[in-house]
C-alpha cells in the first residue's frame, strides 16, 4: 500500500516538475525576457501542487529508505542526489515566496529570481541524474 502511494506521489511529482520546467524555461527559450501571461499562470498554479508533493514524497521516501545512507538498499548516489534535491528545493521555494512580499527592493527581488532560476536548473539536472541512476538500478 505504502509502496503504491509512494509510487503515485513520485509520478505525480515528476509530472508536476516537468510542467514547471516547461512553463518556466520554454518562454525563455522562445526569446522572452520574462515569464508572463499564460506561462506565469500555469507555473504559479502547478507550483503549490508540486511543493505539497515534494513534502509528502520526501516524508514517504525517508520512511521507506531511512534517513542514513547505510539504512537501505537504494543506490547511495541516488540517495545523495535526493538529499541535494531537497536542499535545493528550500532556496528555490523560499526565493519566490520572499519575492511575493514587500520586504525587499526590486534589486534584491532580481537576485531572488536569479536564485530561483539557478536552483531550478540545479533541480532539473539532479532529477535527470536521479532518473539515470534509477534506470541503472533497475537494469
Amino acid at each position: 500500500m505504502n509502496q503504491s502511494i509512494q509510487s503515485l506521489i513520485f509520478k505525480l511529482g515528476l509530472g508536476a516538475f516537468i510542467l514547471l520546467v516547461i512553463t518556466g524555461f520554454l518562454p525563455l527559450l522562445y526569446g522572452e525576457n520574462v515569464q508572463t501571461g499564460w506561462w506565469m499562470i500555469s507555473h504559479a498554479t502547478i507550483a503549490p501542487i508540486f511543493s505539497i508533493l515534494v513534502a509528502i514524497g520526501a516524508f514517504l521516501w525517508v520512511k521507506s529508505v531511512g534517513i542514513g545512507f547505510k539504512d537501505s538498499s537504494q543506490n547511495k548516489c541516488a540517495k545523495k542526489i535526493v538529499w541535494v534535491y531537497l536542499i535545493f528545493f528550500i532556496p528555490n521555494a523560499l526565493s519566490i515566496l520572499f519575492s511575493m512580499n514587500t520586504w525587499f527592493p526590486s534589486s534584491i527581488q532580481h537576485f531572488l529570481l536569479q536564485v530561483h532560476f539557478y536552483t531550478a536548473i540545479g533541480m532539473f539536472l539532479l532529477a535527470l541524474l536521479y532518473l539515470n541512476f534509477s534506470r541503472q538500478d533497475k537494469g
Partner: protein, 617 residues
C-alpha cells in the same frame, strides 16, 4: 577712409568670419551666469532699423533683430521649428488635430512622419491654411518659413502675410505684459509677419491681412477709396524706446514654466474631480524644478524630449541622463547616471522586476490614474487653451481619450493619449487616402445643414443613413475608387445592399505617450498593492476605452491595446484571492522539507560523533 577702403575692410571681416566659423556675439558665453540685458535696436524684415521718427512702422523681425547677435539659422533647426524638414521624427508626439463637427472630421495631422498621423498635404491642407489654423500655438519656423513649400497659387497671400519666423519671444519673453493670445489672434487674421510684434508689451497690432486684396503692398498700402478694411499695422509705444531707438526686451535663457504652459497645458475632463485650483502639478515642479531642467537645449534648440530611445536614435549617449532612469537609477558604482541631477532612487519594495521591464516608469507615475471609463483630455495645441473665443465646453472636439495603457513597439506598456481619426477618404484597392478638404466640405455641410449642431462643439447626432447619403454624393466626384468614411476604428462604404462597415488598420487610433504630470510614490499606481492593477475589476486591464465617432460604436477594453488576453489577466487577478493559500501551502512544504534536512544533518552529526568516540576508545 574712402569707399574702396571701407569695402575692403568689410570684405576682410566677412571673409574672416566665414573662414573661422565665428560664433555670433550672443552665442559665445563669457562665463558669467548673470543674464545679459537686451536693450537693442529693432530691425524689420528688410534688415533696416526701426526708427521712431519714421511714418511707416513695420513689424520687427525676430530673424533680423535677434539674429544680429544669435545664429538664427542654427536656432531654427531646433525641434520646435523643424517639422517639415528631413529631420528624424522620433517617437510619436502630440499631433495637430483638425476637427470640424460640421463635416464629421477629426484628423491628426503632422509634418513629421509619425505612425498613424496624416501629412497635411495628403489632406489637401496647404501650409498657409495650416499656419492660419494652428499658428495660435506654433512657435514659428517649420513650413511657415520654408518658402519652397509655399503653394504658387497662393503667393500673393504669402507676400501680404509674410513668412512665419521663429517667434523667440513666445518662449523667452518673461515680461508679464507679453500676451501670447495676441499671437493667436494675428494668425486668424493672416498677420503672420506681425505675430511676434503683437505679443510684445511695446507694440500694438491692428488691421487684418486677410481683408486686404491680393495686390496689397505693405509699403504702399491701399488707395484711399480702395477698401474700407483696416490694413495690418503696428504701433510702437514710443515711451518704451530710448533716444537711440533701442527697446528693452525682458528675455531670459532660463524659460519659466508658465511660458511652456501656453502650448503644453493639459486639462482632464472629469466630473468627479475636485475644482481646478485644487489640482496638483508635476512633482518635479512642486519640488522647485523647471521644465527646462530636463528639456534642455543648446544653441541648436534641439530640445531633449527625454524618452528612453532618444539617446540611441540621436546617437548621443549624454541624452540618457535626462530620462527618468537617468536621474532615478544608480549605476554599478552606486551613483546616479545623470551628471547634473540626482533624484531619489526608488527601491520599489515588493515589485517583481519584470514590471520594470514590461512597464514604462510613466505607467505608474504619470498622467491620470485609470478609471472604469476613459476620460477626455483638453490640450493647448488641440483645443486652443489660453486663447480668446474658444469653446470651453467639456465635450468640445477634438476628443482626446486618456489614459490608455498601450503596448509600444518595444513591447513596453505605457500610458498614452488617443485620438480616433474620423475623415472622408478614397479607397483604391487596399489603399485609403483622405479626400482633400475642399472636395468634401461643401457636400457634407450641405447634407448635414438641417442637423442641429450642439453648442458644445461635439459631434452632431447622426445615423448611418447620413453617411450613406454623403458617400453617394461623393461617389459622383470620381470614377476611380470608392468613397469611404473612416471613423471609430472602421471604414464605412456603400454597397448595393446598403452601408457596409469593416475594421481597417487605417482607422486605428493615433496615440502619443503621456509623460506628465509625474506623480510621486504616494500617488503612484500600485501604491495600494498588486491589486491596483491585478484586481479582478482593475481598470488597468478592464477600463472601457471610448471609441470616438459621430456614429454609435462599442467601447474597447484597455487590454485590447496591450497584446494580452482579458481572460488571462482576470484569471491571474483571481489568483490573488488564493495567493495567501498558495503562500501557506509552499511555506508548509518548505517547513516539512527543512525539518527533514535538519533531521538528516543531526543524524549525520550523530554518526560522526559516534565514529569519533569509537576511534578514541
Amino acid at each position: 577712409m574712402n569707399n574702396r577702403s571701407i569695402f575692403t575692410l568689410f570684405s576682410c571681416i566677412l571673409f574672416g568670419q566665414i573662414l573661422l566659423g565665428q560664433t555670433k556675439l550672443g552665442d559665445s558665453p563669457d562665463g558669467s551666469r548673470s543674464p545679459a540685458v537686451h536693450r537693442i535696436k529693432l530691425m524689420d524684415h528688410d534688415s533696416s532699423a526701426i526708427r521712431m521718427y519714421q511714418e511707416l512702422q513695420l513689424p520687427f523681425s525676430t530673424e533680423m533683430t535677434c539674429g544680429t547677435c544669435h545664429d538664427y539659422q542654427t536656432v531654427r533647426s531646433g525641434w520646435h521649428f523643424n517639422a517639415g524638414s528631413n529631420i528624424e521624427s522620433g517617437r510619436n508626439g502630440q499631433p495637430w488635430i483638425y476637427a470640424n463637427p460640421k463635416t464629421l472630421t477629426q484628423i491628426p495631422l503632422s509634418y513629421r512622419y509619425w505612425n498613424s498621423a496624416i501629412h497635411p498635404d495628403d489632406f489637401g491642407m496647404s501650409p498657409f491654411e495650416f499656419i492660419k489654423i494652428f499658428g495660435r500655438h506654433h512657435p514659428g519656423g517649420s513650413v511657415g518659413e520654408q518658402d519652397e513649400r509655399w503653394e504658387k497659387e497662393n503667393s500673393f497671400r504669402w507676400n501680404i502675410s509674410g513668412k512665419v519666423e521663429v517667434n523667440c519671444l513666445v518662449c523667452h519673453d518673461v515680461n508679464s505684459a507679453a500676451d501670447r493670445s495676441h499671437v493667436a489672434k494675428q494668425f486668424k487674421k493672416e498677420n503672420f509677419r506681425w505675430a511676434s510684434a503683437s505679443m510684445s508689451s511695446f507694440a500694438d497690432v491692428s488691421g487684418s491681412a486677410k481683408d486686404m486684396p491680393d495686390h496689397y503692398d505693405i509699403y504702399y498700402g491701399l488707395a484711399p477709396d480702395e477698401s474700407k478694411a483696416l490694413p495690418p499695422q503696428v504701433n510702437y509705444d514710443r515711451i518704451a524706446f530710448n533716444e537711440k531707438d533701442e527697446v528693452f526686451f525682458d528675455v531670459t535663457r532660463n524659460i519659466p514654466n508658465k511660458n511652456c504652459y501656453f502650448c503644453h497645458s493639459t486639462m482632464v475632463v472629469d466630473k468627479e474631480r475636485s475644482e481646478f485650483w485644487q489640482h496638483g502639478q508635476d512633482i518635479h515642479l512642486q519640488r522647485g524644478m523647471n521644465c527646462v531642467d530636463c528639456h534642455r537645449n543648446g544653441l541648436d534648440h534641439n530640445m531633449i524630449r527625454g524618452y528612453d530611445n532618444e539617446s540611441a536614435e540621436e546617437n548621443s549617449p549624454e541624452l540618457a541622463d535626462f530620462t527618468c532612469a537617468g536621474c532615478h537609477s544608480i549605476d554599478e558604482n552606486g551613483s546616479t547616471v545623470s551628471h547634473n541631477n540626482k533624484g531619489p532612487v526608488p527601491t520599489h519594495n515588493g515589485l517583481p522586476p519584470l514590471h520594470l521591464e514590461k512597464l514604462s516608469c510613466t505607467s505608474c507615475h504619470s498622467g491620470e490614474m485609470p478609471k472604469d471609463n476613459s476620460m477626455l483630455a483638453k490640450t493647448s495645441m488641440g483645443h486652443g487653451l489660453g486663447t480668446h473665443g474658444i469653446n470651453k465646453a467639456d465635450n468640445t472636439l477634438p476628443h482626446i481619450i486618456t489614459p490608455v495603457f498601450e503596448e509600444n513597439g518595444d513591447g513596453i506598456i505605457e500610458p498614452v493619449n488617443m485620438v480616433w481619426p474620423s475623415y472622408w477618404g478614397w479607397k483604391n484597392g487596399n489603399d485609403i487616402s483622405p479626400i482633400n478638404r475642399d472636395n468634401y466640405e461643401f457636400i457634407v455641410s450641405d447634407i448635414l445643414l438641417t442637423l442641429a449642431l450642439n453648442n458644445e462643439g461635439s459631434w452632431p447626432s447622426i445615423n448611418e443613413s447620413h453617411i450613406k447619403t454623403i458617400l453617394d454624393q461623393l461617389s459622383g466626384q470620381r470614377s476611380e475608387g470608392v468613397p469611404v468614411y473612416v471613423s471609430g476604428g472602421k471604414i464605412y462604404f456603400n454597397r448595393t445592399n446598403g452601408l457596409i462597415s469593416e475594421e481597417n488598420e487605417i482607422a486605428n487610433p493615433y496615440t502619443w505617450p503621456i509623460a506628465h504630470n509625474v506623480r510621486p510614490v504616494s500617488m503612484a499606481l500600485g501604491r495600494n498593492g498588486c491589486t491596483d492593477c491585478h484586481g479582478v475589476d482593475a481598470p488597468f486591464y478592464t477600463s472601457l476605452i471610448s471609441v470616438d465617432s459621430p456614429l454609435k460604436t462599442d467601447n474597447a477594453i484597455m487590454v485590447d491595446f496591450q497584446s494580452q488576453e482579458l481572460v488571462a489577466a482576470q484569471l491571474f487577478a483571481n489568483a490573488f484571492i488564493f495567493r495567501p493559500w498558495l503562500k501557506g501551502i509552499i511555506y508548509m512544504s518548505v517547513f516539512s522539507v527543512v525539518s527533514l534536512v535538519i533531521l538528516f544533518f543531526f543524524h549525520k552529526l550523530q554518526c560522526w560523533l559516534g565514529s569519533s568516540q569509537r576511534e578514541e576508545h
